[in-house]
């Protein structure tokens, strides 16, 4: 079962603790949720899922989280690349700033973004002049989700960029590959597992994000209302069953997606020759 001799003594003991903590910290609250939702039955849950407003909120939450995670993956790779490969004045400051979305209380980020992108804000005003509304639309939500997810994608790829030898790119060029071919055939495949990890983390964060979104979202049902917001609304209406139902649906979807990403990752790792 244990692949290699490990620094942690006693597989049995370590494994036992792992299970215990996972159980206590992750599984216990989740099973409370499942138990609570069980009263609904599969029917009840499906009925909740097909409520138009719930369905719209779930689509907005997962769709925008997906889009934000993709955008974060692209720019995360770019930023990690620039931070590792180039030295320029202010590099350290930018490097430190990458973690800010992570460290900031989400409400602070939400207020900051809402102020910036509101039609009266700096950027919002600029776009408003061209008839583009950002705050209180899905676009606003997307921006908030991109904001909170960025540190995850940068930080997962960065160590790998530092590790991959520049000579590998040069080798590719000496063999006649264009920059594009080098990028597609050499660099991206090497980074794929790390990019996927970053994607998964950014996605998970974006799906669960609440604080920084509600200020900029405007929360219009069917347009810019995210699923966590709907849960809060249901709770405020004392509809605990409905809230738990949505929560359970989110949990199931998230878990399925993360599991899928993990499987893809295992597959791409194997292609790297069993890391």
């Amino acid at each position: 079962m244990l692949k290699e001799p490990s620094a942690i003594p006693g597989f049995g003991l370590a494994f036992g603790y792992t299970l215990f903590y996972l159980g206590l910290i992750v599984l216990l609250p989740l099973s409370a949720l499942v138990l609570e939702a069980a009263g609904l039955g599969l029917d009840g849950i499906l009925r909740i899922a097909s409520e138009p407003r719930v369905y719209a909120a779930l689509r907005i939450s997962f769709g925008l989280a997906f889009a934000a995670a993709i955008i974060d993956s692209v720019f995360g790779l770019l930023i990690a690349w620039v931070l590792v490969r180039y030295s320029f004045p202010g590099r350290k400051v930018i490097d430190a700033a990458v973690d800010l979305p992570f460290a900031l209380p989400t409400a602070v980020a939400g207020i900051a973004l809402a102020t910036l992108y509101a039609p009266t804000g700096w950027l919002g005003g600029l776009f408003a002049a061209y008839g583009i509304k950002i705050a209180f639309t899905p676009l606003g939500i997307l921006i908030a989700l991109i904001f909170v997810g960025l540190p995850f994608t940068v930080r997962t790829v960065q160590p790998l960029v530092a590790e991959v030898d520049r000579e590998v790119e040069e080798a590719s060029a000496t063999l006649g590959a264009s920059r594009r071919q080098t990028l597609l055939r050499v660099i991206l495949p090497i980074f794929a597992p790390a990019i996927l990890t970053g994607f998964a983390l950014a996605f998970a964060r974006a799906v669960s994000e609440y604080g920084s979104v509600i200020f900029i979202a405007g929360n219009l049902p069917f347009v810019s209302e995210i699923a966590p917001q709907l849960i809060v609304i249901k709770l405020e209406e004392f509809d605990y069953r409905g809230a738990t139902g949505i929560a359970l649906i989110m949990l199931t979807l998230s878990f399925a997606i993360l599991l899928a990403i993990n499987l893809i990752q295992a597959w791409s790792r194997r292609r790297l020759g069993g890391v």
């Binding site: 040069e170 080798a171 006649g176 590959a177 790297l272 020759g273």
Partner: protein, 344 residues
């Protein structure tokens, strides 16, 4: 194809890595670039490859001015010291890479070519492995096959065996020489191992401070060193500051007989190899010295003798039967040596 490097200079910030360097490499030859660390060997190789562009000067491939050509257009093969294999690809895919990105032939043709190369580097059974499952020597052979796949006009190797242990180094060296004799690629390889340069190369170029000190065969370099640097860099030497009385060099005012090689006649430094000094009884000798250390080597004895009053030390190699004791006074006879004027 022959390669000409004309007046090439390259600076990184304030360090001049290459300083007005000229070199001609003839088609099909195997030439070694030998020099101390930081002398510009890698930079020169990268300039030939097109991985680095010179500040001034030209690089010609045959009659074509290749100075401005991008690395992709030069059709060279480059082997890096640390292999630089694509670790997410199998050995087969690594070797096929250049053929695929250049769209050289159909999948079957490429597979056939890769098969040939695998055979050439004796790795046929390893085609499906990933680089991390290979030893260092095997990885370097994959790197070599990968570079050879695209039929390079010139093969460039930067300390290809530098990361390997001594025994594998020697095997691979011999194997590379045989490979070169079979395929006949114009080959330039960098090393700072003299033995490797001498054993492997048709000609050796000695670099120092971004310039070429001498290019020639092993005999030229060893027996007819052009500069004091070459003399002291290749093989062991001791340098003795001498005056000159018109016929003979003199050390601390005492002239001594020797066979003077090389063109220089005048005061400067007298360079002598450890094998070219004899130890005699002190009474009869013009130069005497005190034995500082004696130690056993694989082939005999090595002793260091300090003549006169300065801190000059002379290295001497003797048969193991020779009777010298540390602390004793001995006479020195210089069979042959080479005079160089002091530079600058």
């Amino acid at each position: 194809m022959d390669i000409r490097i004309v007046g090439v200079s390259k600076a990184f910030g304030r360090t001049g890595a290459l300083r007005g360097l000229d070199l001609e490499i003839s088609a099909g030859e195997l030439i070694a670039l030998l020099g101390p660390s930081g002398s510009g060997k890698t930079t020169l190789l990268r300039v030939i490859a097109g991985l680095e562009f010179p500040d001034t000067g030209q690089v010609y491939f045959g009659n074509e001015d290749a100075t401005g050509l991008a690395v992709q257009e030069r059709q060279i093969g480059f082997v890096f010291q640390h292999y630089a294999l694509f670790k997410h690809m199998t050995v087969f895919d690594n070797i096929a890479y250049g053929l695929r990105v250049r769209r050289r032939g159909t999948a079957t043709e490429i597979a056939a070519r890769v098969g040939e190369l695998l055979e050439l580097v004796q790795l046929t059974d390893f085609a499906a492995r990933h680089p991390r499952q290979l030893s260092g020597g095997q990885r370097q052979r994959v790197a070599l096959a990968r570079a050879l796949a695209v039929d390079p006009r010139v093969l460039l190797l930067d300390e290809p065996f530098g990361a390997l242990d001594a025994k594998i180094r020697r095997d691979l060296r011999r194997w590379l020489r045989e490979l070169h004799d079979r395929t006949g690629h114009t080959t330039v390889f960098v090393t700072h191992d003299q033995e490797e340069a001498i054993e492997l190369a048709d000609r050796v170029a000695i670099l120092n401070g971004g310039r070429i000190e001498q290019v020639g065969t092993a005999d030229d370099i060893y027996d007819r060193p052009a500069t004091a640097f070459v003399m002291s860099f290749v093989g062991d030497t001791s340098a003795i500051p001498v005056g000159f009385d018109g016929h003979r060099p003199s050390f601390e005012g005492r002239a001594f007989d020797t066979c003077l090689l090389g063109p220089h006649r005048g005061p400067g430094l007298f360079y002598v190899r450890p094998r070219d000094v004899e130890v005699t009884a002190p009474e009869a000798a013009a130069i005497t010295g005190k034995v500082r250390t004696v130690h056993r080597t694989a082939t005999g004895l090595r002793t260091q003798i300090s003549p006169g009053t300065t801190d000059t030390l002379i290295e001497i190699e003797l048969d193991s039967s020779a009777k010298v004791k540390a602390g004793s006074q001995v006479g020195l006879r210089f069979l042959r040596g080479r005079l160089f004027g002091v530079r600058g």
